[in-house]
Subunit: 500 residues, 2 copies
């Protein structure tokens, strides 16, 4: 058995190397690659990913898994070996279901759809995007059929990004959440608005960079194993837990953009840097789910980075960095400004109180797109109607409405929910952390984050993909994914800020 | 046949993608990779290179080559198809000769040897490096035996870097060259020395960067398909002709270092950028030989970049850039300063008149290392004796002597000659260019390089690896590799500078 496990691990190690090599190809594409290099890069990515797929789905892997199943059944259920075989088996079953031809077809469809979307969005031209969206949705339907029988046709799509999660579960969670979020938003809207004009003045880029670096270094981001670069859209990439890189971008007239994107990406990166060394070069050294990943970025971005104790420590440093801009803005004003609630058209700019509503809208639309209950050509109207219903705003055009996100063009139908689920999980973990580290607020007020990071490493990070997301949340918090802590947090925070 | 050719090409395209992916892994390693990421990077490179090797040496490739041989024999001998099959067959025969086990063994040996060398060099501790060098040399001997019978045991080593070249040929070329170079050096040493003190003052880095960029942009380096970064040692990397990157480094107190390394690397890059698009994703879109590659870098670095017409154009700009440093240095003094001849201990700092002597020394030592006529422990003495004989200087220690180069630690025994051969070829080409473009000096004096680059593209670059190096030199210059033009060039140039 040791021998067979070693054989399996040696194949999986090569797959791991290839997948991480693809990550570098992608990182470079978005940071330093000269513009003329994109066609060759497309070939390189395609070849590396194809070989990784072929190696992982080879009959040899199937046979080794079959041989190993009865043997690992005798090991403790939580041993690395048992979990490795189980996780690999799950992925193997899923990946071998999809014909290579459909994988290639998806790459072609989405390349064309992305290109059409890039033109359609600034032109406010949904009609240009529509035929491509139809092909993408058709592909996703056929993809779902590969995994029939299912409870809901949307289940296999969700499962691609959030393994084990069912449509009905997400719908139940969102159904509980929505009326409370809408109600909170209504209450806030009746109070005087916070002032955030001071965020929208000129902040020199290099000083923004330096301050962000100072903050995340204090979080525990280890530059021996990471780096930060500029890119059009911030992202985190990992080549291994020993090489996890983040990117950021600067808006010269909006301080909060780079500031919170840096803490957000650092949250993702701290997760990946914390995976246990013994899981490296196996499928267990991978992210377990997008929701859990997002819980980590949101925890550092919001629960730490938009909290009062955090700014009690860092605001004097920020004022020192930008004396002309913030010298006359006191802590309380600053804190309220960065936590201003305002229904807006664009998801990526949404505050904590409205963000999930953007996600709920997308989930509902995606379900109707896939189950056929909305005609795709009617999507702009469906979008706008829900925006009005949930957020009380109506997009003046499709550029600021249905065309705003890249996800559908890239075939990422099933992805959005993970953002909202991540928000919920972040607060579930936070409540548990506060009960385990009762003086955490004081620590943060002193700029100390090592106990927090230690807790996250121990409970979450080190496990990588060893436990399924919902299992891990259950183990750590004693509960499944639950909207109640998130609502408690929002209500508490905004009652204080807006005097509700 | 079309079908079989397409099959072959599709395998070779994947090998091409993988090899170029490995180039990115290496480029990143030397530019941006965080220091902690090196172990994972080692695995990634190993896996990508192993798979490329397996794919290229697969029995399927062998069978396709066999099937295609009689068929391409009916095509014109210079057609891309014929050459593709021939070049692939040559590499296939060579690569399938070496057992995978020996490939892995080399990687292990040289990883350890590099690490020992990195410690031994600053410590002046040849004894620390010796046992590793012994293993490397032993491996190289066993490697040579794989290709027996040979005329000379060093032939297979040379062939790895300079396909088709024989030890006896290089020895004959160097035998003709050495007495003339030694004699020239003696004559120069009897003349008053040139003043280059003005190169050794402080030159701000950013201005050095900007000036270098201005020069190579004028050469025709196309930033759409390339970029420049900083690294510890300058190098050129290509991911495809559409993505060819250079690096440079700056010595704050030596203007000439970055200046000439930038023009040197740009020369390499222009070659790779000029490979014909129809050869891309085949083994023909590759460098044909290191000597030919070096001929291109040396041509732009020396024949253009250290020439008087070049500085007649650029020196006013350089003075404008560094008025405090160069305002009082006239063109003639500057030109003599950058062409100062001085026997020195370190190869990479050697001038045009002494460089080849460093190479000859290395070739002779390598031959004796491999044929066993010198005991490796006696290498330091052998090195120092030849330094005294050829250059009239004796290294005070091994750091500045036998331990100076990384090549042996990395298993690159057989490589050095290509540097000197590149110098010779650069001048052979130059003589031909001058006869085809009689007013080239005037063009350069006006800062115009398009006719020169056009000539190189047409005669050399576009062919990639389609023709063997010596065949291409013969086609273009009407002669084999020949030291006479190089000596004519050196004598003409230095007679003028030193008034011989």
């Amino acid at each position: 058995m040791k021998n067979k496990l070693a054989q399996l691990k040696s194949i999986l190690a090569e797959v791991y190397d290839l997948e991480n090599t693809a990550h570098l190809l992608e990182w470079d594409m978005q940071t330093y690659m000269p513009p003329g290099g994109s066609e060759a890069r497309g070939y390189q990515r395609g070849t590396v990913m194809k070989i990784a797929h072929e190696k992982f789905t080879s009959p040899e892997v199937g046979e080794l898994l079959q041989d190993l199943a009865p043997l690992v059944a005798q090991l403790p259920p939580d041993s690395d070996e048992t979990r490795l075989v189980q996780v690999t088996q799950r992925r193997y079953t899923k990946k071998t279901r999809i014909p290579a031809k459909m994988v290639a077809e998806r790459a072609q469809l989405t390349t064309a759809a992305l290109s059409a979307w890039e033109q359609a969005r600034p032109e406010n031209n949904f009609a240009r995007f529509l035929p491509h969206l139809e092909k993408v949705v058709d592909w996703k339907r056929r993809y779902a059929e590969l995994y029939a029988p299912y409870e809901h046709i949307y289940d296999p799509l969700l499962d691609e990004y959030e393994p084990g999660m069912k449509t009905a579960q997400v719908q139940a969670i969102f159904a509980a959440l929505r009326p409370q979020q809408v109600e909170l938003l209504r209450a806030i809207s009746e109070r005087p608005q916070a002032d955030d004009a001071f965020l929208h003045i000129t902040y020199p880029e290099q000083k923004q960079w330096d301050f962000g670096v100072e903050v995340i270094t204090r979080f525990g981001y280890d530059w021996k194993y990471g780096r930060q670069d500029r890119s059009a859209h911030p992202f985190t990439t990992n080549m291994d837990p020993s090489d996890v890189r983040i990117t950021t971008r600067f808006l010269p007239n909006l301080l909060s953009s780079a500031l919170f994107s840096t803490t957000h990406e650092a949250g993702h990166a701290l997760y990946e840097m914390g995976i246990a060394p013994e899981l490296v070069r196996t499928p267990l050294a991978d992210l377990v789910s997008l929701a859990l990943h997002e819980s980590q970025s949101r925890l550092w971005e919001n629960l730490v980075g938009r909290s009062l104790p955090f700014w009690e420590h860092f605001y004097p440093r920020l004022q020192e960095t930008f004396p002309a801009q913030l010298g006359n803005v006191n802590l309380n004003t600053f804190y309220k400004g960065i936590n201003k609630v305002e229904p807006s058209l664009i998801r990526v700019e949404a505050d904590e109180a409205t963000y999930n509503l953007h996600i709920m809208l997308r989930l509902e639309l995606e379900i109707t797109m896939v189950d056929g209950s909305v005609r795709l050509k009617d999507l702009p109207e469906a979008w706008n109607a829900r925006m009005e219903e949930y957020l009380g705003v109506t997009p003046p055009n499709n550029t600021l409405g249905v065309l705003q996100d890249i996800h559908w063009a890239d075939g990422y139908i099933g992805y959005f929910s993970t953002y909202a689920l991540g928000n919920l999980v972040s607060v579930q973990l936070w409540e548990r952390i506060l009960s385990d580290i009762p003086d955490l607020s004081d620590q943060i007020r002193r700029g100390e984050f090592s106990a927090l990071l230690g807790w996250l490493r121990e409970k979450i990070h080190r496990h990588g993909a060893k436990f399924a997301a919902q299992e891990l949340v259950q183990r750590v918090t004693g509960s499944g994914i639950d909207p109640a802590p998130y609502m408690r947090y929002l209500k508490g925070k905004y009652s204080q800020i807006y005097g509700l």
